[in-house]
Structures are given as C-alpha cells and as structure tokens.
Symmetry: C2
Subunit: 188 residues, 2 copies
C-alpha cells in the first residue's frame, strides 16, 4: 500500500479501488479506471502494468522496508525481536492510510484470484524474512518458524486494525497480536 | 496423503509420483501414468479427477480428521491444546508414509502452480481450524492467531520430518516445533 500521492497515480488508484468495489474487479476495465480518473488509458499504463498491479504495487516496497529493518536492528536481538522490527517497518508502509488499506483488502477478499495472489505475496515475504533471519545468525528452523509466525501475527493484526473503529494504529495492533501469541503459546 | 493401498489406486499414485519427479508434472500425461501403472486411462479417471488430484486427494481427509480431533478434544482445553490435537490428527494421516510424503512434497515444490495450490489448501485449513476453535468457545482473534500459528508450526515440522534421516516421526516433529515456538515467543 503506497502513501497517497497527488496527481495521476493517486487519482488512478482511488478510481480503481472505487470501481473494483462498485462493480467487482473482473468487471472493471482499464478504460473505466482511466475515465473515472480523468486521464487516458495510456497514462494508466505509464503508472501500472495492469489493473492487478494497482493492488499489489506496494508489496515490493513493503518487503524492502521489512527486510531493511530486520537487517539493521541493533544486536543482540532474538528472532522475534528481529521479526518485530520487520513488522513495524511493514506497518509504517501500510499503516498510514487505513481507508485505502481497508478498500484494498475488501477488493482482494471478494475475488478468488486476488486472494490467491495475496497469499503468494505473503508466502514470498515469509521466505524472505526467514532468509534475513538466517543472515542475522538465527538457526534454520527457528528462522522459518519465526518468519511464518510473524506473518500470522501480521495478518491477524491487520484484520483487527482494519475492523477497528477507534484510534488503534497498525503497529499497536501488531504488538497486541504478539502479546496474544505469547499468552497462547505459554499455556500450550 | 492417503495410506498406501494395494490395487490400481496405489499403483497409479506411485506411477504418477515417479513420473512427476522424472519428467516434471507438466510433462507427464495421464496416458503415461496409466501405462506405467499397467491400467487404462479410463481406470485412472475412475480413481482421480485429473493428474493434480493425485497430489491433493488426501487434503480433504486431512482437514476432516484435524477438525474432528479439534471438536472432540476433552475440555478444558486451551486454544493451543486444541490446535495440537488437530495437528496430531493431521500427522496421523500424513505421517504414515514418509517416502510418499517426501515425493509429493518434492513434486509440489518444483512447480509454481502446485505450490500455489498447496498454499491455498493450507489457508483453507487454517480458516477451518479457526472456525472450529470459535465453536469451542475461543475468542475470535485468538482463534485466528492460534490457527495460523498452528499451520506455521505444521509447515516447519513437516520440513524437519521430511528432511530427517533418522527415526523422527511427524507428531514428534510437531511437538518440537511447538516447543521452539514457545521459546521464541517467550523471549520476544
């Protein structure tokens, strides 16, 4: 999820999300998005490879920020400290605009292909986090488990944040999910 | 992963896995599988809807066993106790034949579409486990988190078990992963 930008790219993103929610993702054409944003289809394609890209453009940024935070976290750090640092960085990318994140999430949940795409992106992020943890000296199995668990924590936190009607912010929701996980596993 | 059965179905499964590993999944035709198993293509289709079904036939069984174990676990049980019961039941379905499980896993990992299919099956299982936990009175967020975490534990345990060259069994690997998770989160 990118930060809101004025100009064509932001207008296209807003128009696309509105149309996906109104008509469904499949039923929306690039021409419709461009028209709603008041630009040409050619301009759309200068900003996005296709209509799916509008939804996933920020995934690479999110991954880059999360991995950089993991690599830069001060030592000594436990596996879960490193994962927390990565998730906090992800929260900074995603958490700035809850309305945008909610709309994107609603569009994705309503479409099987998009849900699958999102799962694949998260699996990719999990594998990248595990690699990053190994580079920080975390044992192989612990790295996989911490990364997978981190993604689980993130997903649950995201839902809580997206459903929240108060002032909860995403990094706070992540801390709450981590605390819940600690309680859950302590009693196992 | 089904138990080994003598007869056409077992021979077809063995032939299919061997061919997928030798030639690749895409390059293997149903006719090749039937020929290797010494039956007709018609017989293949009496047992499996298509060549992908050979790999995923047991997913429904696994989910059914896991959910039944979760529903039947004696009270009082914490969320992670219930997830453990579900994972133990899954281990009983998958864990009986490591060689078969290894081959299936190698075939799936070598093919993008199959990897995606497996991710989707696991996401489905996670959602079903979370629903089962809610039916057992577990709070909504805890249910999601425990289910997602359970799938993470299972995935890591499966890899450890599949890579093991000694006598580790899958339910033991699951217990080890749960213990690792407890240590990881306690230090967070």
């Amino acid at each position: 999820m990118g930060r809101w930008e004025p100009g064509a790219s932001g207008r296209l993103r807003e128009a696309a999300l509105a149309l996906y929610l109104e008509r469904g993702f499949e039923q929306t054409m690039v021409a419709d998005i461009a028209e709603r944003a008041g630009v040409t289809a050619r301009t759309f394609f200068r900003h996005f490879a296709d209509k799916r890209e509008v939804l996933f453009e920020a995934s690479a940024d999110l991954e880059k920020s999360a991995l950089a935070a993991l690599a830069d976290a001060p030592a000594p750090a436990s596996a879960m400290d490193l994962v927390s640092a990565a998730l906090d960085a992800a929260a900074e990318v995603v958490g700035t605009d809850r309305e945008l994140a909610r709309k994107r999430h609603a569009v994705i949940m309503a479409n099987t292909d998009l849900r699958e795409r999102e799962l694949i992106k998260l699996a990719h992020l999990s594998a990248a986090l595990a690699d990053g943890l190994r580079l920080r000296g975390i044992d192989d199995t612990e790295a996989s488990l911490a990364a997978e668990t981190g993604i689980a924590v993130y997903r649950v936190a995201f839902e809580r944040w997206a459903d929240d009607t108060g002032g909860l912010d995403l990094s706070e929701a992540i801390r709450m999910s981590l605390a819940t996980l600690r309680t859950l596993t302590a009693s196992a």
